[in-house]
């Protein structure tokens, strides 16, 4: 049965779906891991031709549920039904054969193979001799791309594509399975605004073809823009399902956290002192140009802009990770030469990087070791020997102050949740007693509770006179925490906004130009 988009829209509106009401349903799902019940008696019902968002804090259980639906995990209890038929999903292949395809957050493509080869892997069209028919494969891919309005060459190497384009290939691959259900795990996390629009067009198109889409996101505005329904999970439990037109943002947050968010951004007015960090005409060839700004003691300067606008690169350059090609950096009015992070630390700067896994944590090492590595440069050592006792006591104190949740400091950092890892990394930098603190996405991917705590620490540091530069893609965070906001677009500073004049619209205008 093929229905026109208009009919489908009308049907969706009425809530009466012909045939089996639910495309995919799960009931009584339970999944326990050693030491934690990830899902407890959870239900989920996906209607045909709808986009259904899964919402919840980190650790709420949405990823676990999605992995069960995609056949990656097997549930301890519960029933999954596809078009009213009970199914068992023992592997991702099982899920695909039952018409459930998943687009993973971390891309699973082979960089040294072509786009077409990646899409049709395991299903390559063969010629009479049993060899792969590349011509047919490229034609199939071109057809698929036409359908999805993707302008990529089927023969280009995946490794040469941008992250956004790789995301498109992943989506095309999932669609190519002609699945009834598509699971998308934060598909927009690496996309620019226009690419997100393109993705949403594709999603709406798929929806009108009767495909059910499970959409996982942390972004509230996406929920209202694309989702028809949403289900909320909290601490492994199912909280409820609602139509996205029926609720407000605050309702959802309340459902997610199970409490009123008081003081989400505990911004306090603190005395602002003299200029501490001054950056003039900072340039990194080919990346950003003529970046100038100053930050005062006690001030929080927000750095806004779209992904790829050069925000993180500016931070890396100030900290000496990628030294500038021209321009100057001054601290306390004195020009400094920062050619490496070692120099930056010596000048009492600290830099919490964007990617906890890639540039933050030492995953095989324990909390204590993770915390102490930046401060060892010039403190806590005598004749090369580490003053273990003193350092351990100070780390313990820091960890208690930051409320790192762990049985002891000898736990490996990889066993901690994202929020706790972030606290350990903040602890690493606070031990160096910085005067200038650069935070790159300090609360990305961590739950609401830990987020609020981190905001409180940052405010507290500002009160103590630290100059803070905070990069964030989350508009409420930037607007809520900053005294001033600097906006970047394509490697250039496009404007500064004072706290009073900074609104979501003003920032977006400057960020998108």
């Amino acid at each position: 049965m093929v229905l026109s988009p208009q009919t489908m829209a009308a049907v969706r509106q009425s809530g009466a779906i012909p045939g089996a009401e639910y495309l995919l349903s799960a009931e009584g799902v339970r999944k326990a891991f050693p030491g934690v019940v990830a899902l407890d008696d959870v239900q989920f019902k996906l209607k045909r031709g709808t986009v259904h968002a899964l919402m919840g804090e980190n650790g709420a259980g949405k990823s676990t549920l999605m992995k069960i639906l995609a056949g990656i995990y097997q549930p301890d209890a519960g029933e999954i039904r596809m078009k009213n038929q009970a199914i068992r999903l023992a592997s991702p292949l099982d899920a695909l054969e039952n018409g459930i395809a998943m687009i993973h957050q971390e891309l699973n493509l082979m960089p040294f193979m072509t786009v077409a080869e990646n899409i049709w892997i395991r299903r390559e069209p063969k010629n009479r001799l049993g060899f792969v028919d590349h011509g047919a494969m490229n034609r199939q891919t071109a057809d698929l791309f036409r359908r999805l309005n993707i302008g990529l060459d089927p023969e280009s190497l995946v490794g040469e594509l941008s992250v956004a384009n790789r995301q498109m290939v992943e989506i095309a691959k999932a669609v190519s399975y002609e699945s009834d259900v598509l699971i998308m795990d934060e598909p927009t996390s690496a996309l620019t605004e226009t690419e997100v629009e393109h993705l949403f067009t594709i999603i709406r198109d798929l929806r009108s073809q009767g495909i059910g889409i499970v959409y996982i996101t942390h972004k509230m505005n996406e929920l209202f823009e694309i989702a028809d329904e949403f289900s909320v999970f909290r601490d492994g439990k199912y909280i409820g399902t609602h139509a996205s037109t029926d609720v407000t943002r605050d309702d959802i947050i309340r459902m997610m956290v199970g409490r009123e968010i008081t003081q989400m951004f505990p911004k306090e007015e603190v005395p602002i002192g003299d200029v501490l960090l001054k950056v003039e005409n900072l340039t990194l060839d080919g990346v950003f140009r003529d970046v100038s700004f100053e930050v005062r003691s006690g001030e929080i300067l927000g750095l806004a802009g779209l992904v790829g606008s050069g925000r993180s690169n500016v931070a890396e350059t100030i900290f000496g990770v990628t030294p500038a090609t021209s321009g100057t950096i001054s601290i306390d009015g004195r020009q400094v030469d920062i050619s490496s992070p070692t120099e930056a630390i010596r000048n009492r700067m600290a830099f919490l990087t964007e990617d906890r896994k890639d540039t933050g944590c030492f995953l095989p090492l324990d909390i204590l070791e993770n915390m102490q590595l930046a401060v060892l440069q010039d403190r806590y050592t005598r004749a090369g020997f580490v003053q273990e006792g003193k350092l351990a006591r100070d780390c313990q104190e820091m960890s208690a102050k930051l409320r790192v949740k762990t049985p002891n400091l000898y736990e490996r950092i990889e066993n901690l949740s994202g929020g706790n890892q972030q606290k350990v990394l903040i602890g690493r930098w606070l031990l160096t007693n910085p005067r200038i603190l650069i935070l790159d996405e300090p609360t990305r991917g961590i739950d609401v509770g830990a987020k609020a705590e981190i905001h409180r620490f940052v405010t507290e540091l500002a009160r103590q006179g630290v100059a803070v530069v905070m990069i964030s893609s989350e508009m409420p965070e930037v607007l809520g925490m900053s005294d001033r906001v600097m906006v970047m677009h394509e490697g250039r500073v496009t404007g500064f906004l004072d706290r009073a004049e900074a609104t979501q619209v003003r920032v977006m205008e400057l960020a998108a130009q």
């Binding site: 934690v36 990770v321 944590c361 095989p364 580490v386 313990q396 208690a400 790192v404 830990a450």
Partner: protein, 353 residues
């Protein structure tokens, strides 16, 4: 999540009750069983199997023979000295394939400065009967130089450690053959031979092990070594001069290979260009059996020492049981792979949490 904020001492695992939130030193110091414990059990297990087989097959005790154990340890001491250096390299996430060849090269060069005047075919007739400190210093210098070349290549040209040290492995072996055009260097002074005599190689091995155990555990050098192996990018951002540190680590590995070369020559009372062939693989095996992870960031000298002894006891046990030498190699290979399989399995189990 809200409860965690309210009550920071609350733990999900419930394994250790009171921990965070206090500043009691006991809470900080609480450690789990050291990872070497398992490897130590394996060592004991192997020894007991030999003991059992000894009694049933040939009616002798394996562990009861002091002399056999001494010889066994003597035989692996040189491997052990190298392995201490290689362990540090592997902890940084690298590898050193050149140590066997560096043993050969330093053995040759050190020996050539340790010849006695009574020997008629000395390489440098004018430089005979030198005090032992001279050839030792020269040998250590050669090892150090080889290590620095490795380190500089790896740190500053960013070529993979496998390739850089493979090049050194081939070239150093070539150099040691070219040095005397293939002739052995003999007639060494008694003073020089002394360091290879009796139990001295074992003492050198254990001294080296203790020094670097302490260095890895308690010094900044050690902390940085682990940090680089665990996450090189994060180490750089944390202000560690990664390049300079890598040169240090490879230099130390070269220095220790040089020391091993000196001990080898002194013990054999002669030097040949072919000395130390495939020692690098034994040293890597000792480190890996001892729990050092080839992915970097994990490993301890105590584990490597046990791994070295396991290698020794394997060989010694087979000889004791009069089993064909061929089987020794077959089983050695199996043990090395089994050690890595066990390591991968452990990591998987951890990742599942």
């Amino acid at each position: 999540m809200s409860s965690d904020i309210a009550n920071p001492t609350n733990t999900t695992a419930g394994s250790v009750a009171a921990g965070a939130g206090t500043t009691r030193p006991e809470a900080i110091r609480r450690r789990r069983m050291p990872p070497e414990f398992n490897i130590f059990l394996v060592l004991i297990g192997i020894a007991l199997i030999y003991e059992l087989l000894g009694w049933t097959m040939i009616g002798q005790s394996f562990l009861g023979n002091q002399q056999r154990l001494t010889i066994m340890i003597l035989q692996v001491s040189v491997i052990g000295i190298i392995a201490v250096g290689v362990t540090q390299v592997i902890i940084t996430g690298g590898i050193d394939l050149s140590s066997g060849s560096v043993v050969g090269l330093t053995a040759m060069i050190a020996a050539s400065f340790a010849q006695a005047s009574t020997w008629s075919r000395a390489l440098y007739p004018a430089l005979t009967d030198l005090p032992a400190i001279v050839p030792i210093a020269i040998g250590l210098g050669v090892g150090l130089a080889a290590g620095i070349v490795n380190g500089v290549l790896i740190a500053y040209t960013r070529i993979p450690p496998f390739i850089a040290t493979l090049g050194m492995m081939v070239s150093a072996r070539g150099l040691s053959k070219w040095y005397t055009k293939g002739q052995p260097v003999s007639g060494l002074t008694e003073q020089f031979n002394f360091i290879g005599s009796g139990i001295w190689p074992v003492i050198v091995f254990l001294a080296v092990a203790v020094i670097f155990h302490v260095a890895l555990r308690y010094t900044r050098y050690g902390k940085f070594t682990y940090a680089i192996g665990a996450n090189m990018q994060a180490a750089r951002v944390s202000g560690i001069n990664v390049e300079r540190h890598l040169v240090k680590v490879y230099a130390i590995a070269g220095l220790l290979a040089g020391l091993a070369g000196i001990v080898t020559a002194a013990r054999a009372q002669t030097a040949q260009a072919g000395m130390g062939i495939s020692y690098e693989l034994d040293a890597i095996a000792a480190a890996v059996i001892g729990g050092t992870s080839l992915t970097g960031g994990v490993g301890r000298i105590t584990g490597t020492v046990i791994g070295t002894i396991i290698l020794g006891i394997m060989t010694s046990g087979f000889t004791f049981l009069r089993v064909d030498a061929y089987y020794q190699e077959i089983v050695k290979g199996v043990i090395i792979v089994a050690a890595v399989v066990a390591d991968v399995y452990r990591q998987k189990k951890r990742a599942k949490r």
